[in-house]
Amino acid sequence: MIAAPADDEPLIRWDWLARNADDIGGMLADHVYLSVVPVVIGLVIALPVGLACARWRWIYPPVLAVTSLLYALPAIALFVVLIAFTGLSHTTVMIPLALYTLSVLVPGVVDGLRAVPDHVRQAAVAMGFGPLRRLVQVELPIAVPVVMAGLRVATVSNISLVSVGALIGIGGLGELFTDGFNRDFPTPIIAGVVLTILLAVAADGLLILVQRLLTPWSRQ
């Protein structure tokens, strides 16, 4: 699918990049999709799980054990297992990434809620907040900085992990690596590395911006 290289190449062949810009753009879009969707799914699941763990303290240790175990599993092993169920699809790559996100965000939500000072919680109760209102208007907003820190870690690590999917043919920019290695051709490899890093930096910067908008109070 990508034009063949010649021998004795310079490190980067700009003309090759120019000729394949469209394909590379498609891979970039794919990469963003493959890394961001699992973060969103992970967050949507981590919130209620984290809330439950903060509410009923006894379920947190087992939940934490499971999420730590998930985090320790090699991505490639998960891909191979999942192929049997979901085939060579985007889903196969996104499920492990969503699980990784979950394993970072569940502790993030729990730690965030635990970071709410006891005197603040007491004051909320004493002023007549009911439990739900207290959660939504006081505890969750105060947990935002800690949750956002987890979200940044999950997003950046997902962006780097997506490339592993290239080993089963679905890896966004990672496909540039397999292509370059297969043909002993450095240009796509370097392009893949640089774009992955840029994407990670851009995503992190965006999240920092979002956090500043959400929590103007937490600076200083």
């Binding site: 005197h119 004051a123 109760v125 007549g128 907040f129 105060i142 109070w217």
Partner: protein
């Protein structure tokens, strides 16, 4: 009025935090709960707004059992101030103060306008309205805590060691300002502290708690100092309770002596004639100038030219207490306290012995 009727609290772990406590907190007064740490003061306070439910006994507000009202609704009508202020870090100062009005459904605009008004009332610059709590000093945060408790104008305020976390100078200011505010507002206040000085300063009545949640004495500050119920209370009040009691003897009750008060142009012979060791010189308007030691004075000269010891400080016979008079006596070179009226004119002097006699008369009543 808040009434505690045989209130006991045993926590599920077996701790007895309150043991059959009965007392009445009068409307418009500050009732202080004081005592050793773990004595049940906070627990007692929290039975009023149902943050703690008694194991037995009842708490009544103006005769109605607090358990007959839903907790959230009850709490919105009771101001609450705690040690670390408990401000919401994610809300601005104005929005923190407006918390209860918001809960009661008041509009943002009105609630914020009232918040600014309250900021001025508690001595905060309204320019701070848009800041966040972390940008304020401890003393300022505590003022916000008080403003927040006042926002919905509740008749009752519960204050749990509200000024304990700030340094002594700021604490003194906060106490004085709060008393000034209370003189205008006449809230029914329950005020918890572990500091007996603060209790005596703030309280109209003081309830002393000891470990095990026992109420050992409930009395006015004056009576507490004059007649501690037992050794625990006496120990708790401290060795200087005699001197503290002087705070409750108005200086106006002291018998002042003006025989040793002389105009500065008096002669040495006149000074000798007083029979006193020291004489106080005054100007033509009878305002005090300084002390002259009578012994060793050369004869024939006007006192004007004799070496003078500085005055030290005086006490106001109308406004001050005997404690201020004692302080003036201790710091005076002559050992005598100089009493002046509102215009600074000398009324007379008092010795520490005169002060002791005044306490004697006070306790004989």
């Amino acid at each position: 009025m808040i009434t505690f009727e045989g209130v006991s609290k045993r926590f599920p772990d077996g701790t007895v935090a309150l043991d059959d406590v009965s007392l009445e907190c009068a409307t418009g007064e500050i009732t202080v709960f004081v005592g050793t740490s773990g004595g049940g003061k906070t627990t007692a306070l929290r039975t009023v707004n149902r943050m703690v439910e008694p194991t037995s006994g009842r708490v009544l507000i103006d005769g109605a059992d607090v358990r007959d009202r839903p907790p959230a609704e009850l709490r919105r009508g009771i101001g609450y101030v705690i040690q670390q202020a408990g401000l919401f870090p994610h809300r601005t100062i104005a929005d923190n103060i407006a918390t209860v009005p918001y809960l009661l459904g008041e509009g943002k605009k009105r609630a914020r306008a009232r918040a600014r008004e309250l900021m001025e009332r508690v001595g905060l610059d309204p320019a701070l309205a848009g800041r966040y709590p972390a940008q304020l000093s401890g003393g300022q945060q505590q003022r916000v805590g008080v403003a927040r408790a006042l926002a919905a104008d509740p008749p009752i305020m519960l204050m749990d060691e509200p000024f304990s976390a700030v340094d002594p100078v700021v604490r003194g200011e906060l106490q004085a300002e709060f008393l000034r505010l209370q003189a205008e507002l006449h809230k029914t206040i329950v005020f918890v502290t572990h500091d007996i000085d603060e209790a005596i300063k703030m309280g109209d009545r003081i309830a002393v708690f000891r470990t095990g949640g026992k109420l050992v004495q409930f009395d006015t500050p004056k009576n507490l100092l004059a007649a501690p119920a037992d050794d625990f209370v006496a120990d708790f009040i401290g060795y200087d309770r005699g001197i503290r009691r002087l705070s409750f003897v108005p200086a106006a009750e002291l018998e002042l002596d003006d025989r040793a008060v002389l105009p500065e142009n008096a002669s040495v012979a006149e000074a000798r004639a007083t029979g006193a060791d020291w004489v106080l010189l005054t100007d033509s308007g009878r305002r005090p100038l300084g002390w002259v030691a009578v012994s060793g004075l050369a004869t024939d000269r006007s006192l004007q030219h004799m070496p003078r010891a500085p005055l030290g400080h005086t006490f106001n016979v109308r406004a001050d207490s005997a404690r201020a008079a004692l302080d003036a006596a201790v710091l005076s070179p002559s050992g005598l306290a100089v009493g002046v009226d509102d215009d600074g004119v000398v009324v007379g002097v008092a010795s520490p012995l005169d002060l002791t006699n005044a306490i004697g008369r006070e306790s004989a009543r």
